[in-house]
């Protein structure tokens, strides 16, 4: 199970944080600081995995933004890299050629997309299309049971 997901810039500025296990605020700050320090200090062409306390850290850089998450021991690192990649794909689909500024200015949207994609540190929806649909539905504000039942697709 994923413990947290952080997005931060190359300068170490936090862009998004999601905690899947409860932590006191001070501990969160420490995690964020340690992560930015550790990840930003990694030389190029080193592997995307780190060990921090008893957590496995998987990070990946997309343009100027680092995606970084903490995993439990039995989780699969490679799969997590793909989780990050899928999240980027989802952002890309929503914003259309996503860049860091999209996430800065519309961070709440990035959170909404994440909520449709991950739940409780586990992947909720792997289909790109389905996540897109549920975000659209949420954006369009409402859908009643009657509307849903009368849809021909069901």
């Amino acid at each position: 199970m994923m413990h947290f997901l952080l997005l931060f810039s190359r300068q170490g500025k936090l862009r998004l944080q999601k905690w899947f296990t409860p932590l006191p605020d001070r501990e969160k700050k420490k995690v964020i600081r340690d992560m930015t320090l550790m990840v930003l200090a990694r030389p190029p062409r080193s592997c995307n995995f780190l060990q921090w306390r008893d957590l496995k850290i998987v990070y990946k850089r997309y343009a100027s933004l680092y995606f970084c998450c903490g995993l439990e021991d039995q989780d699969n690192e490679l799969l997590t890299l793909e989780v990050l990649h899928r999240y980027v794909e989802l952002l890309d689909k929503y914003f259309g050629n996503v860049c860091e500024l999209d996430i800065i200015f519309n961070f709440e949207k990035a959170y909404f997309i994440l909520d449709e994609f991950l739940m409780e540190g586990e992947i909720l929806e792997t289909s790109k299309k389905a996540v897109g649909t549920s975000i659209e539905e949420a954006d369009s504000q409402q859908e009643t049971m009657e509307e849903y039942m009368s849809k021909p697709t069901y």
Binding site: L14, L101, N106, F107
Partner: protein, 1125 residues
Amino acid sequence: MSDVVEKTLTALPSLLSLDSQSGSGKLSSTSKLGSLIRGITELTSKHEEEKLIKRELVAIKEQVSSPNTTMRQMKEIMVRAIYCEMLGYEASFTYIHAIKLAQQGSVLEKRVGYLGVSLFLNESHELLLLLVNTVLRDLQSTNLIEVCMALTVVSQMFPKDMIPAILPLVEDKLAHPKEIIRRKAVLALYKFYLIAPNQVQHIHSKFRKALCDKDPGVMTASLHIYLLMIKESPDVYKDLTGSFVTILKQVIGGKLPMDFNYHSVPAPWLQIQLLKILALLGKDDQSTSEIMYDVLDECLRRAEMNHNITYAILYECVRAIYTIHPKSELLEKAVKCIGNFVLSPKINLKYLGLKALTFVVQQDANLALQHQVTIIECLDHSDLMIKRETLELLFRITNGQNVTVIVEKMLEFLRFSNDDYSTIDLVGKVAEVAEKYAPDNGWFIQTMNAVFSLGGDTMQADIPNSFLRLLSEGFDSEEEDRHLRLFAVDSYVRLLQEDPAKLPQRFLQVISWVLGEYSHLRDDLEATTVTRLLARLLDLNHTSNETRSWVLTAMMKLCEGPACAALVQQVCDRYTGSLDTVLRQKAQELQHLSQDAELRSRVMTRRCTLEPLEVDSSLSFLDGFVSEALAAGAAPYKPPHQRQEELSQEKALSLEPYGLSLPVSLSSCCISDRQSPTLLSVSSGNSTDPSQRAAPTTLKLDGVKRVWGKQGYLAQKEVVEEAAQVEGPSPLLSSSQQGSADSPQTQTPTPEPDLQRQQLASALFVGLGAQNAVCLMGKTDAVPQRFRRKPRGHGSSSGSVERSSLSSHSLLGNNLLDSTNIPSDEVVSPKNTERTPDLTATNGTCDPEETPSPDETAAHVLPLTSGIGMETMEPATHTDPDRPRNPCLSSHLPAELSGMARSDIAPLCSNRSLALSACTVSTEDTFLLILFVSNSSDSDVQHLLLQLTCTGELEVSCLSDGAPEELAGHGVAVYKYSLVMKTPSPQVELAGVVSYEMPLGEPQAAQFSHRLYLTDFIRPLPVSTEEYGRMWLSYTHDTKQNLKLVQDDQDPLTATLNALKEKLQLHVVDIIGLEGIVACRLLQGQPCLMHCRVHDNSLAVWLRSPVLELPDCLLYHYQKALQEH
């Protein structure tokens, strides 16, 4: 910094130009958030940013408190507040408004409100209580979006106490027609299961329905719960193996909708989840493993595309193959797969390859040989992570021959590492292998010196403790002990003469203890010299008071002669006035002892041999004093946690009227208390208090001994090595083994300049492949374990070792043995028996006269010939009506038990010739298990042997003497065992094996298992109310929970207690009004007390016991009893 400025400058133009852009959901930079962000980007210093945000927050505060602010504006404000919080500025005044927004806003506003709540608050925040109603309403909303949002927020954060309030609604959603809602509901339940498993116990059947859901997404979501449940009790879910295999087959076969593909790989997430589940199910279980061989094979075959995601699947597949019962073909394929990983140029894959190797070398050390070149390359890799993982791998293959090289590599890494966590970990590993495989005394002392200097004061406390213990207890030969101690003294004197200022405190403590204890061994070393060196330590600025008291203690042992006395006097003068009480006391003692030679010789006797010290840890000699004081009116002692609890009870707000559960703060304080006793026990046995140790000249290791655990871990480890060696020599490997044995002509195709590497390789891998060749030739290897003592119970390694030993056992039973052509009697090679003399002796397996008692040999009796075709029946299944053998079995019951209450005789397993049944008999102070072995064939059965494998929870002792070796046709043998539960657990599985021989035919064996419940081991504890009160105060572990009340118009409390008494043997001490107190005890074990109170149609229960696990386990059975009622 210049980088930041540069970045800002480059970002600005694009920012401004984006203003004019119009796109779908593009930047809303004209908004207030936009201008805030732009404002921040324009700033150059942290200070200015702070000022700007402060201003912003003031503005926000004004707006939120204004009555004219609409919800729409509030949404905008909330986003800004979230942004400020993300930058690290507190905006706690907006929390309540986030909740209000979620409550009152329209859908879009509500969404932001919920987002704010989930980012601002954590699970224990009291404001969350205000959210419960909103969530309840939204769960019932007709707008599906609102339902979705509510489920999302529930899974993110919901107060544990409030789960019952919404649980029925979430359960209903499992039957919702829309799949996304079903899926979210399943995940919300998953969350509940994580934080409060007791609360969702009753809906297990619904999980099964979710597993069978027609939507694959819902099924996938339910697997999270199953993975968790199977991890806890794999046996319960074995019947699902077939279904999981079928699902995986369908997934691999591409039967799922295209939507589930990821880069044209079908549902990789689902695949990996299933592989994890299968690995858990197949672990140590041959028949279950057999079901999944095909699908694992296919999984490996299909995942061949060159993409990260397929590698992820392969990696998981390899792990599964090595976890379940082994199959040679699959293992071969997995090995090939690992090879691809390790040799891959992609650094991520290389890393995982090393990880996989580390995982598998525990079972087959020869695998490391195949990749020695790569391993050596990785050892010098520029990436520290790779290096670290390689060391981990080397640690697993350490043996007596390569230990020096490997330790050297580890220490080298330690010198560069600056990460505390990995330092602590690695230092522990160095200490472990150094102690286990040290080639000579000098090396050992030097290595430990390095460990102490590098480990500093952060390392685990047990390293110095066990080192000192090793020195003080000694091992086989006097001479050897003396030698080692002398070495230590010499090296420490040298260190102190050089520069003691840079040594860590822990090391100084070790040094002063050793010098105090053993410097007299060196005749040419005068006590004065040592005392002077030690006195220098006192003067160092950074020396802690703890270390100082160690030094003073050492001086007490040393002070002899007038020269010393003068020096000691100086020291005493200085520290008798110290502010630190311990130091002051030490100084006083030192002063007295140095002046009174006779007293000193009495207190500080120099004993070379170590007799175990009797320590009365219960302080019973103080009982008289205590009772006197109590009689004189003193208040009874309350342990610290209780004082704290009472304090917090007085202070805390009473949440009772809302009454779903007890205050959160209480439970959190209980948790921290639970940990403290273990910490205490460690430190009391260890070195923190020098005053304890000073008087009797030896370490008081009373507490430590228990930490080392039972004998037997090392035995299993050895077995693994043997097995690995036996299994090794397949044609593929033998050449490489040869190569490493005579190193100059290594077969590795490396170019010339790598001579150095080749040498390293031969040094590193020396003990691995070559060993069994040596053994087969009958030579004994000259690497006996140097320091023989109880193996360490290192949590991480012991568990896995145990497991791997199990599977390697069965490997022997498999036909792998045939292919290797090694006679089975050579499995126990001379070398290996020589290496572990202590173990074989203590285990008694080598001694033919001593019959092994069941628990000692428990781990060894795993059947070599398992799976011969015996059907094992679940104990729960009812008796076969065709074979009415139970009535006659009861006549075989031992005469002394015939009148007692006993359970029905239940069949355990049967085959053509034998049938096993069991029943249990409970008496006031025993719990007996009676096993009946009945011969259902006409011929006699010979060499009948029944052995029980007990887990750590149970203690089994055999009561029947002289069990028959032979059993005539249609005869019945009866075995009687007395059982005691050592560590409480809700239920335990008692497994065993019966082996026998038919007159014509080979030996056979049958496995069986029988499940026992905690309820069998619970007995009433007759105490009076006063005694109860006293006991209640003295117990440390407690648990609180609300239970269902039995519906009864007259007196629900009595009815409930009676219902509990029906199922569990309890003693109801007293019932006063709405409260009741109940006491029980674990058979031959500790008591558990319960205090309950009727409250709002539920029963608030508070359990206390000196044992950590007991209250939880009892609660489990209480709930079960009430449910069944």
